[in-house]
């Protein structure tokens, strides 16, 4: 079976700085793949490459067997890859509903259909009470939900989540884990960058570890947690701390 997403030998240099180095990765349909690594490991750069915000220096990206390397972001989104931003980028002066509607227009050109779809997603994300307030009025947790809601509204097959749980309280991130699981139930494949170790380990089918732009492991969570290279590179104290 063709993997939903295949990244082949992907590299990105900024000037002399190597941000992503020869990364190859495959995602099966319906999978949740966690992506971890220390700060500056190149996780967000990898997202930017897959979503088309950046063009790779070398390598190819295939989505459902189709080459998407170097396509502009809106084309990639139209093909079925949606993303969230690490630092939420709400359309500040538009209402929450209007924000989500922008995403919904992609598959529902008629305003009524887009609005209905947007309402549905807003309700599911628990944003109903804030439906008509400007997005600038949301709290951090609210903005994270809005990011996710907007991305979902584009009707993706693959969803890239960039630290949607960072800065949330434990209760809030538990709710998020439940949300993400539910999204997978609908048949959406997920690639998730996360710093909250407990969440990522319980959520992911497999975990990929980036270190200095290189992929050093792609394994089930329990294997990754025991992998000496990973512990060496990154997990070390942090994982032991969260396991304790």
């Amino acid at each position: 079976m063709t993997p939903l997403l295949a990244v082949q030998g992907l590299s990105k240099q900024f000037g002399g700085l190597v941000a992503v180095q020869d990364v190859s990765l495959e995602l099966a349909e319906g999978e949740i793949l966690g992506l971890i690594g220390p700060n500056g490991a190149g996780k967000t750069t990898l997202f930017n490459l897959i979503s088309g915000a950046l063009a790779p220096s070398q390598g190819r990206i295939l989505f459902a067997g189709q080459e998407i390397t170097g396509l502009p972001p809106h084309r990639i989104c139209a093909l079925g890859i949606a993303r969230t931003f690490q630092i939420a980028r709400p359309f500040a002066r538009l209402s929450v509903l209007e924000n989500v509607r922008i995403g919904a227009f992609l598959r529902h050109p008629h305003p009524d259909a887009a609005e209905a779809r947007a309402r549905e997603i807003v309700a599911r994300m628990g944003l109903d009470p804030y439906r008509d307030v400007p997005a600038s009025a949301l709290t951090t947790a609210g903005r994270k939900r809005l990011e996710l809601a907007r991305a979902l509204a584009t009707g993706p097959r693959l969803l890239l989540l960039d630290e949607v749980m960072a800065g949330l309280t434990p209760t809030e991130s538990q709710e998020f884990v439940a949300l993400v699981r539910q999204i997978r139930e609908e048949g959406i494949t997920l690639l998730v960058i996360e710093h909250v170790m407990k969440a990522i380990m319980s959520l992911s089918d497999r975990v990929a570890v980036l270190h200095h732009g290189e992929l050093i492991a792609v394994d089930p969570p329990d294997v990754v947690a025991r992998d000496p290279r990973v512990i060496e590179a990154y997990l070390g104290e942090e994982f032991r701390a969260s396991a304790a």
């Binding site: 980028r89 538009l94 992609l106």
Partner: protein, 344 residues
Amino acid sequence: MNHRQRLLQDYARLAAVALPLLAVPFLVDPFLVSLAILTLYWAYLGNAWNIMGGYAGQFSFGHAMFYGIGAYTSTMLLLRFQVSPWLGMLAGAGLAALFGAGAGYLLFRFGVRGHFFALGTFALAEMLRLIAAETEFINRSIGVHIPLIRGDSWWRLQFERTQGNYYFVILGLFVLGMAVTIGLHRSHLGAYFQAIRENEEAAAALGVDVLRYKVYAVALSAALTAMGGSFFAQYFLFIDPTLAFGVSVSVQILLRPIVGGVGTVWGPLVGALLLTPLAELTRAFVRTPPPSLEFLRGRSGVDVMIYGALLILVILFIPDGLVGAGRRLWGRLSPGPRGGRRPS
């Protein structure tokens, strides 16, 4: 409420504003009619600017380029080829849209944004002015007169006897422009424009072809602005490079929507309702100043000086314009959290 109902409601509001206005030429004296013509004319132009500068957030400092293209196109077609200004207006709109799309595409494609985009549009308008002043075909910097005709002619869009007809023409244009904005405001196009204004990267990540929609915004705004230029040429019966492409045209065009409220449907009209009579009052004041201000008699510049001061005050104290300030005040006065849609 579904989309169609909302649209109908907005159009009903527009009709409620526009229909009573039809009576104006029958009720007031000619001076007030000419004031009303100017007010609607500036509201119309402000609305056209607002599509690009307000909704799509592509701040234009050189809208005179589109305006001038419209003014010269209809005028030259009329003078050289006897084409009706109505057709000339459409031709000018098409030409301005093409020019705007081309210029916009170049600037956007090369990543000219924010400050630099504003400066770029400014420079383009100035270039057109300088080129116009050197072009023999349009009589260089001397300008072009549209010959007077006796009586009224709808075909030639010239009314010697019934000035009020100009009023109906500009009222029609104004309603057309507002109808376009309302349609836009309620459609995915308008939503995309606003998303681009708020955050281009986020919009692109949600499947919005940012470059394409920015170019659409420029083309649409350019076409409407050019039609205003054609109207002015027919009303004033004279056009020269400064009247067509001058900096003051660009400034005047953006002044009303800024004062009224950028990116709101009614902002340009509100701004025009305030500023245009203000300008006329100032001019009247300078013609016959009170004794204490005798030195102002006949001096030009007072009106624009007031514009300048007003612009500063508005930006400093009500940056979202009169409509925005009004909304905030309304929000504070009305009890409880505001449910339902935000008013347009």
